[in-house]
Symmetry: C2
Subunit: 258 residues, 2 copies
């Protein structure tokens, strides 16, 4: 059996609290990033500014050099979103690029216990730390644009007006993050109460305990006012129903103790 | 008519890209924070560390001094989650507290246009910047714990074993963020394509355009193995169905042009 690849444990990414929930497995961490609609990307904007900046961005794992790499292999994180001239300047200012932190969190359930202090969420979260540089070549940009579009709806890229023209290529900025390290944290299962409360009949007879499964749901696609394609295409229809099924199942599976 | 309160526009919170989507309205920004399950909180961990830290936390707006304040009035942000000894040290190290950035993003829809470059999300996002200190008094801690618990499920606090005992009070850390400034960004409506593509029959006859509404859904509550309350309580049942209804409606409303 081949051992799964793991990110190195460094002071800044080692899970300390509830460390049994921590994971450094590349496959687990990359999967959370790839199935989260919006990533939160943080960086230090300038030395005179005390507050880090946070931007919501779309991102996906990939490897332009080794495009056939699996999800559990070393990958870069491609980010798309509003890349200001400030970020571009910071990213180009050093050879390594702009140090940033990419976070993804999915809530799988509300975990309701006897006492407020034991309440929790079932969740899957991942954090990557790495150095970002703008993608420079058209070939790599196209590679990343396709990955990002097909992350939003699987198969969408091939079913739109492609390839992007020169103006579109020039106006699109993609950041490639070379990952230094990462970590994930996963909480599954029902509520865990303390014996002092579980033994009290006046409490257990009054307080309902359990899990409310939570997931991201897609509703029926609504055509735009200018749409001329009469039926919702099968790839889109399939993606909507398949994703709904998978997301709901993940929330239900998370109710079981790991 | 009373003018709505707005956060001051500073260099670090002024919306530059698509500035028509920006908002500084306290009510709008606080509502996004309060209806987002998980907030992403970022701060600079130490001067020798290039990467900002990001933590997923639960948070809610409130005012211990003026508890009857409306959502559109000046409020603090109370945060609950894993507060390490490192964060506590940083928060106590200065009079003002630890500078941090709180981000909330809700995806309301996948906006599918003729060409990949015009694809977008409908979304509501909010960012707060402020200084965090641990809440010190039991009175304020209780106030915040109730707010946070009832954010997860409305009415849950009153329906659990309360008040927390001494051990629970001591082991719970809540951060109070005094907000310096904030901003929000909201995208609504259908896809916006360019005339060059809308005029091409070969494109419009092939590419479906429109919006896939997206929302956070709750499934039927699942009792724990130790639960002794036979029926799902009415406050929980009502919260689940009401939230599902509101979340879905928000996603459908977002399809319309603002």
């Amino acid at each position: 059996m081949v051992r799964n690849l793991e990110y190195p444990k460094k002071p800044q990414n080692t899970v300390k609290r509830y460390d049994g929930r921590g994971t450094y497995d590349l496959g687990a961490i990359h999967s959370i990033i790839n199935t989260t609609s919006v990533l939160h990307v943080s960086f230090a904007p300038s030395p005179d500014q005390p507050f880090p900046a946070i931007l919501p961005m779309i991102g996906v794992m990939g490897s332009f050099e080794y495009p056939s790499s699996g999800i559990d292999e070393p990958l870069d994180c491609y980010l798309h979103g509003y890349v200001s001239s400030r970020i571009m300047r910071l990213a180009r200012a050093s050879d390594k690029g702009l140090p940033l932190c990419v976070a993804a969190t999915k809530v799988d359930g509300l975990v309701l216990s006897l006492t407020p202090n034991s309440h929790s969420y079932n969740y899957r979260s991942a954090v990557l730390q790495g150095y970002a540089k703008p993608v420079e070549t058209d070939e790599e940009k196209l590679y990343a644009m396709r990955l990002i579009t097909n992350k939003v709806v699987d198969g969408r890229w091939e079913n739109t007006r492609i390839p992007p023209d020169n103006v579109e290529m020039t106006s699109t900025t993609i950041l490639r993050v070379k990952v230094e390290t990462g970590s994930g944290k996963i909480r599954q299962g029902g509520p865990h109460d303390e014996a002092k409360d579980e033994k009290r009949d006046d409490v257990t007879e009054k307080v309902w305990t359990g899990v409310v499964p939570v997931y991201e749901a897609f509703d029926t696609p609504i055509p735009s006012t200018t749409n001329k394609v009469k039926q919702v295409p099968s790839y889109l229809d399939a993606y909507v129903s398949q994703t709904n099924k998978e997301n709901r199942q993940a929330a239900l599976d998370a109710v079981n103790e790991p």
